[in-house]
Amino acid sequence: MTDTSQPVRAVAGYRNSLLRSPARAPWPRIISPADTTGPVFDPAAVEPSEHDLSVISPGRPRAMGQLIVITGQVLDEDGRPFPNALLECWQANAAGKYIHHNDPSSVPVDPNFIGVGRVMTDAQGRYRLRTIKPGGYAVPDHGEGQLSGWWRPPHVHFSIFGPAFSSRLVTQMYFPGDPLNERDLLLNSIPDEAARSRLIGRFAPDLSTADGALGFRHDFVLRGRLETPFEDDHR
C-alpha cells in the first residue's frame, strides 16, 4: 500500500525527480542491527555558535532580513523525545539566494549570511535556531536560463540523525500563510494534507525576543520507536 504521508518519488514538472527516482518499487527491508543502530555524534563537536545563522562570527553585522527563532522537539513515533539528535540546516538568504556553487541566480548575496547551521537536541529532545527568514525564489528552467514558472516558497532545509540508520530524516520546513506553499511542487508531492501540514512551522508570538526575532515552533517526528532502557532500573 502506498504511504500517502510521504511524498511521491516522481514529481510531474520536477525534472531531476523524473530522471533520478527508481522506477521499480523498493524491495522489502529485513530489519537487522544495520537498521536499528546508527551513527553517534559527539555533542562537543558542535559549537554553540552554530545554532545562530544570523551572525557569521561575533562582532560581524547581523544578516539582512527578518530575524526569526525556530524551536521545537525531535520525537519518536510515540512522542518520546530524542536527546542528542544532530540537526543540520541550510537555507537561502532573505532575497532567496544560496551561498552555493550550484546557485546560478543573479539574486544578490548578503556578505553577512552563509545560511548553514548545526545544533544538537538537549535531554528533552529540544533544539533552538536563530536565523533570518529566507526569501522565496524562482526556479530556473533547465537550459536557456528561462524561468520555469515554479517558485519555491520560503523554506529551511533540515537533515536529522536520530538513534538509528532507519530514522534518518531529510526534510524542509515551510512558513505558515505563504501563498507559494499551495503551488509548490515539492510540498504538494505529499498526497495527505495532514502530513503536508507537518512541514509548516507554527507562528509562535510568545517566542518573540526583545531584539525583534519572530518565533516559530516546529517539531520533527522520526520513524521508529525508542526503547525504554530505564524500565528495568526500578529495583
Partner: protein
C-alpha cells in the same frame, strides 16, 4: 504520531557538511588508526539517461572488522559521507566489515555496507545494502533472499577492481539495470 514527511535535500547541500575525515573511516574519532582490513569503495552514480549525477550525497553505515556496530565511545565511527564529483564519481576508504549474528535469531549476516543516497530529485532517501563477492553467508542472508530477482541481487555485489582491496559499486538510479533499493 505521523512521521515527518521527507523532502529532497535539493541541489544546495552545504559543502561544509562534508568533511575530509567523513570519507575515510579507517581513521578513528580521535585520529587513531582503526584495526582491520582496509579497503576502498568507489563508483559512479548515473540517472535514467545514463548521465552522471553530480552532487549526489552518499552516506555509509557499517559494522567494524569484528562485526560490531559502533557506540558513542568507540574509536570506529562506522559512518561516512561524501558526494559525487562532475563525473558522478565517489570514493570512500574504510575497513571491511565482519559478519555478525543477529541477536535473538538464528541468522548470521554476511559482511555488508549500508548506503543511503540523497540529493536533488530524490524526494525520499534511497537505501541499499552492498554485499561482497564469494561470501557463502550471502545465500542464507534474509535481506539477500528478500531481493528475489537473481539479476537484481547480482547488482548488489561489489566488483573487485585490480588486485588491491578496491571495490566498485556503480549506482543506476533509474532504468533497465537500476540498482535495487530497499524500503526506506
Amino acid at each position: 504520531m505521523i512521521p515527518t514527511p521527507s523532502q529532497t535535500a535539493g541541489p544546495f547541500f552545504p559543502a561544509s557538511f562534508i568533511r575530509a575525515e567523513d570519507r575515510d573511516l579507517t581513521v578513528g574519532r580521535r585520529g587513531e588508526p582503526i584495526p582491520g582490513e582496509s579497503m576502498e569503495l568507489e563508483g559512479r552514480v548515473f540517472d535514467a539517461l545514463g548521465d552522471p549525477v553530480v552532487n549526489a550525497i552518499l552516506e555509509l553505515w557499517q559494522a567494524d572488522g569484528a562485526g560490531r556496530f559502533p557506540a558513542a565511545a568507540d574509536p570506529f565511527r562506522g559512518w561516512g559521507r561524501t558526494w559525487t564529483d562532475e563525473s558522478g564519481r565517489y570514493r570512500f576508504r574504510t575497513i571491511k566489515p565482519g559478519p555478525y549474528r543477529v541477536p535473538g535469531h538464528d541468522w548470521t549476516r554476511p559482511p555488508h555496507l549500508s548506503l543511503m543516497v540523497l540529493g536533488s530529485g530524490l524526494m525520499r532517501p534511497l537505501v541499499t545494502q552492498l554485499f561482497f563477492p564469494d561470501e557463502p553467508l550471502n545465500e542464507t542472508d534474509r535481506q539477500w533472499q528478500a531481493v528475489t530477482d537473481p539479476a537484481a541481487r547480482r547488482r548488489l555485489v561489489l566488483q573487485p577492481v585490480g588486485s588491491g582491496p578496491v571495490y566498485r559499486f556503480d549506482i543506476r538510479l533509474r532504468g533497465e539495470d537500476e540498482t535495487p533499493f530497499l524500503v526506506d
